[in-house]
Amino acid sequence: MTERHALACFLRGLALSLSKPYLAVSLWLIQLLLAAVLILPISNSLHDLLDNSVAGSRMVANPEFGWWETVQREHPDLFGNFGELAAGLLTPEGVKSSQLPGLRGIGATAVSLGFLAVVLHAFALGGVFGTLREPKASLVTLGREGMRRFPAFLLFTLAALAAAGAAYRWIYLETGEALRGRVANLDSEGKALAITALRLIALLLTLAAIKLVADSVRAVWVARPDLPPISRFFAGIASALGRPARLFGVLVSYAIVTAALYLIWLWLDPSAGGEARFALVPLILTQQVFVFVRLFVKVGYYAGVSEALTRAPSPEYSYVAAPSPAPAPPESPGEQPASQLRSRREESLGLP
């Protein structure tokens, strides 16, 4: 048995993701279909506002500050306070649930889609984790595996979502509220920013822990069908607790690669400059290629988590060397020695 480095796990996960491109394709399709709900309302509204407006020609290349302000003011039912909420998420004060009733129209639909995305995410993860363990799989496998594990995975996802919500409230919002007076009395803005950074780091670490525990539970749930559900659940948590550094390393690798992708995107900015840089169709294709690449990396992360939890390469993986020679056949068909069962468990999962 060998302990692989986190980066190695992540890279192996990326390789696995590349070997099963239909996983990224399926995630991309799910996201595209979700976003498609908004295409028509957004498109219709924009065409209505811009097509015949003389300001439209100015807006081909660059956004206009005045246009956005005017749209929000003249059409409050289009977005409601969506922009305010999105910006609020990035402030030291954060966003409170009491602000949600201010959402309207496309803004409210976008948030509702977010909840639907979470549900579909649960389904997709069941499919992804299941498919990753199949030597030969296809899009059909993803659907089958996803549906098989949907109830359990939905529960895990909702539990993780609730935990993340609680973390946001109690680690970020409430600490901000409690420290408000003290922060205002600090002798420099730098210290105040440091306090915000500490709150943010605490929140991010907690969210990372929640995510890693949830992903470990999912991975173990798929890898250990031989265990009763409650054991699988706790085995998942134990796996996360047993290898926190390696799992965290995989997550950090994933975060770095994703952030790098966004930085490259923002640096290249294919949508800037109007038609002088990219015509509409190449622009859309570029955007979707970017999303697709990002989803490759995402699948790679989940495969990396599986790798990180596996002490030895999983025998199901086609690219892995064959397992050790088979033990002697059982004395009677259908009967397996206890030692063999244990051996397979140890191979597939590094239980403590």
Binding site: I42, S43, L49, N52, G56, G66, W67, E74, A192
Partner: protein
């Protein structure tokens, strides 16, 4: 009680005429001059002081009372008018901390030692609030005759609140403003002395100030104030600074041991030299040049149009973190600006506030309008001028995204003056624009009407009059009313005199009204002309069929409908642009709710634009000002793709975290 030393200084002051202590050459005859000695008690966050007020009745009527502003009493308790109106909300939106302030009168005597305190009463001329203590009145033993000068000696004790609204302390930082008993303005109708409101500023008479400030020695070199420092006296653990300034109507001072003191000089041919003193927080030291450049741009930009800044010094205060509510304020020759660690160069953060607060040296300082009753005369006029100076100096500002307190500029231009004043449009019709400051519906409409609406109304006027005429009007207004108390009527008269036409109608519609302005092109069609059908006369008979001269049709039939959606009618130009480059301009008086233009058998109409030169900056929706006959889907298609792309990313982010 005031210290013996302070009393001695006050007594010495009683023996000297106030003008003798002040700047050698007052720029205007003093009405209310102050000789003050004060001592800061950092433990109690309090100031004990003595004040010698020398007041001349400049009106034609006798005065049998004196009325004083006691602004710090607004922070006395939650029953003050300030607390009631603000509902406990500070300038930056947060709660006002329960840190109380007050000013107590310990002695008030005339030069013949007549004690005035027994006649003191608190009055509430604005709202009748019996618990408000921000205006005090004393009865004089005999009326002060027109032209007569009296002296009043006052001992007072001021307790400072933690900074929440302009004045107070935070740690060792002090911005001491509205801190001493200050006389109201005596006018022909009587005293004009308003209470301290949540949305009002100040109004006082010009005079000469001579102020000695006694602070602990650790403030050595870290004290700034209105006027020029003329003396520094160090004892064992205390240090006394003395400042003098003639021909101003208020005095504020600041102290902070953390200040980084930067001195510079403004020099430009045709304008007066000015000593610049920048009191900067150390963590903002990287913004020193930006702030100084903005100050220089302000002195130059305002001076070129309104006449030179007449004082020798300008002190710029940078309040520390946690005391930003002291920033964005103006006092004679001293302004409180303010900035942040995160101030990217593309975002004109220290620049905007520095230019604006300097601009108040004109609109408030020299043109000392009544900020209570006509807040637009200082804030709005100054915002208009700020926008002009910023646009001329920096071009455009930029929108930014604030991420956990750090600002990141976005590639979105914010143009002066329209984009910078968009907050007006959101509340355009909620109040009559020319409203007394404390009678606005709320702080938001006060700000929108006083600052943004006035700036846009003046920018519109500039475009209607031409910049040259507007500049001449502003200069004449500044020359006529320098060191006086102008009103909007005075400005209107100045505009009329300069333009040679009566523009009162414009002010009636834009200031004394709550209506907004919005013109829109509702309809633009251009279709190939068709031959007429029906019965036509031929040789005296009605027959079916076209006469030959009508049978040949060519060109396009075009229809344009322009509507006035807003309540305010202003004359506007309408531009029709045809295929082949031909254009047609026409002026519409804008009085009716709509007008229609039809063109038969003309060239194909491409678009119609109302107000094509963008003169009517008060127009709340400029994006309906133009319409194309044929749609162009490019912008909408691109923005749809961009929006959907980011929605995809956002949805993915939502699913990554759990």
């Amino acid at each position: 009680m005031p210290s013996a030393k302070a009393c001695a200084i006050a007594l010495a002051g009683l023996a000297l005429p106030a003008s003798g202590l002040a700047q050698s050459s007052p720029l205007t005859p003093p009405i209310a001059s102050y000789d003050i000695s004060c001592r800061l008690d950092t433990g109690k966050k309090a100031i004990e002081g003595t004040e010698l007020l020398t007041w001349t009745n400049g009106t034609a009527r006798p005065a049998d009372t004196l009325q004083f502003h006691l602004y710090l009493n607004a922070f006395r308790n939650t029953r003050s008018t300030l607390w009631k109106e603000s509902r406990g909300e500070g300038r930056e939106g947060g709660r006002i901390p329960e840190s109380w302030g007050s000013v107590e009168l310990l002695r008030m005597t005339l030069q013949d030692n007549t004690d005035l305190l027994p006649t003191l009463s608190y009055i509430s001329p604005d709202d009748g609030n019996p618990d408000d203590r921000t205006v005090a009145e004393v009865r004089l033993p005999r009326p002060v005759a027109p032209g007569e000068t009296i002296s009043v000696a006052i001992d007072f004790r001021s307790r400072l609140p933690r900074v929440a609204l302009r004045t107070g302390y935070k740690g060792d930082f002090y911005l001491v403003a509205q801190w001493f008993p200050k006389l109201g303005v005596f006018q022909e109708p009587g005293w004009n002395c308003h209470q301290f409101h949540a949305t009002s500023e100040f109004f006082s008479d010009f005079g000469n100030y001579d102020v000695s400030i006694d602070v602990p020695a650790f403030y050595k070199g870290k004290v700034g104030a209105t006027g020029r420092q003329v003396e520094e006296r160090l004892s064992s653990d205390r240090i006394v600074y003395r400042f003098r300034q003639a021909s101003v109507h208020d005095f504020a001072w600041t102290a902070d041991p953390a200040y980084l003191v930067v001195r510079d000089k403004f020099h430009e041919a045709g304008l007066r030299d000015v000593d610049l003193i920048l009191l900067l927080q150390p963590e903002h030291s990287g913004q020193r040049e930006r702030t100084l450049r903005a100050a220089r741009a302000g002195i130059s930009g305002y001076g070129r149009i309104l006449g030179a800044y007449p004082y020798d010094t300008l002190t710029i205060v940078d309040p520390p973190w946690g005391a930003r509510a002291a920033g964005g304020m103006e006092y004679p020759t001293l302004i409180a600006a303010g900035t942040s660690i995160s101030a990217p160069a593309a975002v004109l953060s220290p620049e905007g506030v520095t230019v604006h607060e300097f601009g108040h040296q004109f609109f408030y300082g020299l043109l000392a309008s009544n900020e209570f009753e006509e807040p637009y005369l200082d804030e709005g006029f100054n915002t208009y001028m700020t926008d002009r100076v910023l646009a001329a100096t920096y071009g455009v500002n930029h929108e930014y995204l604030s991420i956990f307190g750090l600002r990141f500029p976005l590639g979105i231009d914010v143009h002066y003056p329209v984009d910078a004043n968009r907050r007006y449009f959101a509340v355009a019709s909620r109040d009559i624009h020319a409203t007394k400051s404390w009678k606005f519906r709320d702080r938001r409409t006060y700000g929108a009407a006083s600052y943004a609406h006035t700036a846009l109304a003046l920018a519109t006027l500039e475009r209607l009059l031409t910049t040259n005429v507007m500049d001449r009007a502003l200069r004449l207004y500044a020359d006529r009313w320098r060191f006086r108390h102008p009103t909007l009527g005075d400005f209107i008269a100045t505009v009329n005199d300069t333009a040679g036409r009566d523009w009162t109608w414009y002010f009636n519609r834009t200031f004394f009204s709550s209506d907004d302005v919005d013109y829109a092109v509702e309809e633009v069609t251009s279709t190939p002309s068709k031959a007429p059908k029906g019965l036509f006369e031929k040789e005296g008979k009605l027959v079916e069929g076209l006469p030959p001269e009508l049978a040949k049709t060519r060109g396009y039939d075009s229809v344009v409908t322009v509507t006035r959606r807003g309540g305010t009618a202003l004359p506007v130009e309408i531009l029709l642009r045809f295929e082949g480059g031909k254009t047609h301009r026409t002026l519409w008086d804008g009085e009716a709710r709509w007008t229609r233009f039809t063109v038969s058998q003309g060239p194909r109409l491409l678009e119609a634009i109302v107000d094509p030169d963008e003169k009517i900056l008060l127009d709340s929706d400029r994006f309906n000002n133009g319409r194309r006959a044929e749609g162009d889907a490019r912008a909408a298609a691109r923005w749809t793709s961009r929006t959907v792309f980011w929605v995809q990313n956002l949805l993915d982010f939502l699913t990554v975290a759990w």
